[in-house]
Amino acid sequence: MTLLNMNLPDIADIKKVVTDILKGKGGLALNLSIIGIIMGIYALSRLLIEGHGAVTNTSSLVPWGVQISTYVYMVLLSTGCTFINFFGYMFYRKEYEMFGTRILFVGIFIAFAGMGALATELGRMDKMIYFLLSPQPKSPMWWMSVWYSIYVTLKLVELVNHKRGKHSDKLLWITFIVAIITYSNLGSVFGIVEQRAYYFGPLLPIYFLMLGFLTGAALSTIIASAHFYKSDTEFQNHVRPFRNSLRIGLGIAIVATFWRLVAGMYAQAEGYEIFKLTFMHTFFFELLFALAIPLVVSYFSTCQRCMIVICSFILITQFKIRTDLIVGGFKIPVFKAYSIPDIVSYMPSHVEFFVVIGAISAATFIYVFADKIGFFEGEEHIHG
């Protein structure tokens, strides 16, 4: 079917997939993501009905929890996808092209899902209109709303373009640059907070960017690897750009994490003890376990399934690390009285977890659904 010059799947295909789903024959991925979405809706309704106080474990001491880290993580993935998309087109156009629309698509909806997770963390979602009515240009968070709107719009334009069978390198460039700004802006949301040693510093936005590249690479590698290939050679050929990006991503993530750790360990100011407190964890878990091991493994095991496993591992560990980063900012309370502990601990409630699951499921559902109805078919060769 063609709509506004876009080449879209036929209604009949959509109907078929929907009836399949209703019959419970949607396949594992779809069924699971539907369950996840239901969990998300349940979480959202409890949040709205009972309020944050009753159902989340965030508090004045830990104002931001796993809902925010989900957001950070998902937009990180989105940015990563944009990077991969950019590098794919720039350096490996031949091998990459066939995945372009998919990566673009995932990048958009994962950002939407992330923003959904963010919205659930707001105490008063009903007042979001004030982002428009009462802007504060000094606030990185306000800029975040601006940049993400631009970013998502650009990506949507790109997607429409693709569906019209076009591809513009100019737009690719613009989106790439906006993605850098957007994501480093998100980094600055944390980086400007002088009081939170774990966040503070001009390097944080850069650190964010570097990790963004890694997770984007991991996700796109999974997407590319989950594809059907006639032979391993074909697979190796197509997955090369992704694997290379992944290795580069791991490499720079190791460097970035290492220097952040070193800088933090040397700092003497109040609050920096958090780096010492989390040293073992950062060193063994973040550096060795979550980054170095996958890097090494990626040289020895290159089969299709291996790639999916490695990348899933990276995605999961990075989610944990993102959460640790957010929550790490609150570990040492800025003021202690009454029963406020020396070190604050935080464990998300089940409702918070459900929000995470809901957001991930929503993104997954949309992608798998799009795939099933043939949204990405006939996109293998788009020329700019």
Binding site: S134, Y338, S339, P341, D342
Partner: protein, 725 residues
């Protein structure tokens, strides 16, 4: 008190009125509708016994805020950390709501909701039964709190004089008696400590600031910031000790040694107020002889305070005489020789000439509001039970408890417990429970399902102080103060004030002649009229002070009277000697903890009053449980970390059933552990407080009785720490 009093109503209503003008430029005030206009009623706080004046603001018939009444002598417009949280009691959903009969066992109750009529008929029948079988004196009242006066009146009308209060034998009795024996008067409550004008202040224990007795804390800080020097004797760096010029981390139970050494130094070096002593006191010679061996070096060895410090402070005290206050403290049932220790303080006070002097102990104002006129005489009755304690000023709670078990001096079979949580308040809970089990009637009048109510046959739910009138209250301080409690709202649920309960009960027992008033306001107005006080003014202001009745300091015209056998200050007490006691305080060594044991020291949380506030939702939110303070070195030795939960075992092998969190501190000596009293609730009805922390009562199985006045000394408890996951 020369300050220009603000017109509190004007101010209070200004603070309350909601402005129509929007503060915000941005968003319309679409839904910020002002509520109905507020009303204000004066009251006084009942979260402890200082009874600070307050003003309750009510909107739509509900109290929504309380603030200090600037006209109140005890509060000066301020409420303490607890008082400000009064609404946390008023609106506690756990409150007692209806009269209830226990259809199960005492201590294992099954509650049946009944009407007031049924509940009071039950009580009346039982009381009549006891009167017939044992005589009216077999009924005792334990009361702590303002409404208790109606119960005391009721009990007297019924024919018993056994109205006891834990504030005597479990609290300040020894101090009162020690001063009474010396000066013929007790230091009062609020005490006559003239801290605000002191040049030198000595606190022995007395952890003011944590002990949040409002105006006393204010006076103390006034004095210190006016330059008064401060000495604090305390094994723990209390809040106030941290303000002291000299903190003496005295070894617990040895204060007496230091006091005696001070007396000796002052007499030996003739540093006392010679004119004052020769004019007002007797027994200096005998005193000198008795204390001759108490050298500073001797005291130093015992108390672990350097002799030089002891001497230095003695000299400093003398330098500032007579404008110094050596405080008699308040909670004084410590080691069993407490009346004598208080006597030592009183003697020192006399030597310094500071009783009746500026900055010392002021002389209380005179004044009186006559009783309700024309009431019938109380029936003759046996005198109240004071045990074998010749100097008890009031019936003694523990003597009554003993009487239940021994039938001596006569049987006791009925208890009316008003506003006192005896289970936690009296030492050795087992004994209390044994006594309760033997009773024919046990009535609890309370506001919350506290431990004591679980042992009652019938619970009479009183409404809280913000919902009731109470009797007129008078206070003799540097001014004569008359205060009134005016309800800010109707009683919630079916709770009722004591004046109503006693009046209704009297009708059922044929005692209505003792309650002839139509209602409480009729009663109050009649009393005010009799005293020449304008009731309407009192009802509006809440507190009226009569300064003309005050003559706080000794002058040529204002000579003190000492109500002692000799009409003089008795440094040496003949009457003590006649009763076989030491006429001058002597040092007695007290038991020491065995190795591995710590002395249990306890005190007050600034945010709680005993057990009565542990369930208060505002206070519980800040301090939900008590902690076990332990010195860092000892904690290290025992491998304890901050936040660990432990249990305690006392010297008799009794283990606490609840756990307590460890607090590691440098503020405490190594030979003791410290905790707040009042926690470790054991009543499932207290939803916030139940089982949180440890109650000192769980381990205070042993106590020593002060033979002079029956006080139960409870600081001889030694505990071992046991780790529990």
């Amino acid at each position: 008190m020369s300050i220009s009093r603000r017109d509190f109503l004007k101010i209070a209503s200004a603070a309350a009125a909601v402005s129509a003008a929007p503060v915000f430029k941005s968003v319309s005030a679409m839904s910020n509708k002002p509520s109905a206009p507020p009303t204000f009623s004066p009251n006084y706080c009942e979260l402890c016994f200082w009874n600070c004046g307050l003003i309750a603001k009510s909107v739509n018939g509900k109290v929504v805020k309380i603030e200090g009444n600037p006209l109140s002598y005890r509060g000066n417009g301020k409420l303490c950390g607890r008082g400000n949280a009064g609404l946390g009691l008023l609106y506690d959903p756990d409150r007692l709501k209806y009269p209830m009969l226990n259809t199960g066992k005492r201590g294992d109750p099954k509650w049946k909701r009944v009407s007031w009529n049924e509940a009071l008929s039950f009580v009346a029948d039982k009381l009549n039964g006891i009167k017939q079988k044992y005589g009216p004196e077999a009924v005792a009242l334990f009361s702590h709190g303002t409404g208790g006066s109606f119960w005391k009146h009721f009990l007297n009308a019924y024919g018993s004089e056994n109205s006891a209060a834990p504030s005597f034998a479990q609290c300040r009795g020894p101090r009162d008696v020690g001063f009474y024996l010396t000066f013929g008067a007790a230091p009062g409550s609020p005490e006559y400590y003239d801290f605000a004008r002191s040049k030198f202040i000595v606190l022995i224990g007395s952890h003011l600031g944590e002990n949040a007795h409002n105006s006393q804390v204010q006076d103390l800080i006034n004095g210190i910031s006016d330059g008064a020097k401060l000495v604090v004797l305390d094994p723990r760096l209390s809040n106030v000790a941290s303000k002291a010029d000299w903190w003496l981390p005295v070894k617990p139970a040895t204060d007496m040694a230091i006091l005696l050494a001070w007396i000796k130094i002052i007499i030996d070096e003739e540093l006392y107020d010679k004119e004052y002593i020769s004019k007002y006191a007797i027994g200096l010679k005998e005193l000198k002889e008795e204390v001759k061996n108490y050298t500073p070096e001797w005291a130093s060895k015992i108390s672990e305070i350097p002799a030089a410090t002891i001497v230095e402070i003695a000299h400093e005290m003398a330098k500032h005489k007579p404008n110094l206050c050596i405080s008699g403290g308040r909670f004084t049932v410590w080691y069993g020789d407490d009346t004598q220790r208080s006597r030592a303080i009183a003697i020192l006070t006399a030597l310094m000439g500071s009783w009746g002097r500026e900055g010392g102990y002021y002389l209380p104002a005179k004044g009186k509001v006559p009783a309700y006129p024309g009431l019938p005489e109380y029936p003759d009755s046996e005198s109240g039970m004071t045990g074998d304690y010749p100097f008890a000023l009031l019936p003694v709670t523990n003597a009554i408890r003993e009487a239940v078990l021994t039938d001596k001096p006569y049987p006791c079979r009925g208890w009316i417990v008003y506003g006192s949580n005896l289970i936690k308040t009296m030492p050795n809970t087992k004994e209390t429970i044994e006594a309760i089990k033997k009773l024919d009637l046990m009535v609890a009048i309370d506001v919350l399902p506290m431990e004591i109510t679980q042992w009652a046959d019938v619970i009479l739910p009183e409404c809280t102080y913000l919902e009731r009138f109470d009797d007129i209250q008078t206070g003799k301080f540097q001014t004569f103060e008359v205060t009134l409690r005016v309800p800010g709202m109707k009683p919630m649920f079916e709770s009722r004030p004591s004046w109503w309960i006693t009046k209704e009960l009297s009708k059922k027992m044929g005692l209505e002649a003792y309650f002839p008033w139509n209602d409480i306001e009729d009663y109050l107005k009649t009393r005010c009229d009799a005293a020449g006080i304008n009731y309407e003014e009192l009802k509006q202001k809440g507190a009226i002070q009569f300064n003309e009745k005050a003559h706080p300091y000794i002058t040529a015209q204002n000579q003190p009277k000492f109500n002692t056998p000799s009409d003089k200050i008795e440094l040496y007490s003949k009457q003590l000697k006649e009763h076989g006691f030491d006429p001058v305080p002597k040092y007695t060594a007290h038991e020491e903890p065995q190795p591995g044991y710590f002395r249990l020291v306890f005190g007050r949380s600034p945010l709680h009053s005993f057990s009565r506030t542990v369930n208060n939702f505002m206070l519980n939110d800040l301090i939900p449980e008590n902690e076990l303070w332990i010195n860092t070195k000892q904690a290290l030795k025992l491998g304890l970390k901050k936040g660990d939960y432990v249990k305690l075992v006392n010297q008799d092998g009794i283990k606490t059933d609840t756990k307590i969190k460890v607090k590691i501190t440098e503020r405490l000596r190594e030979d003791c552990v410290y905790m707040y009293h009042g926690f470790g609730a054991n009543s499932s009805g207290l939803s916030r407080a139940d089982k949180r922390g440890i109650g000192t009562d769980q381990i205070i199985t042993k106590y020593t009785i002060d033979p002079l006045m029956g006080g139960t000394a409870i600081r001889g408890i030694f505990v071992k720490i046991v780790k529990e996951a």
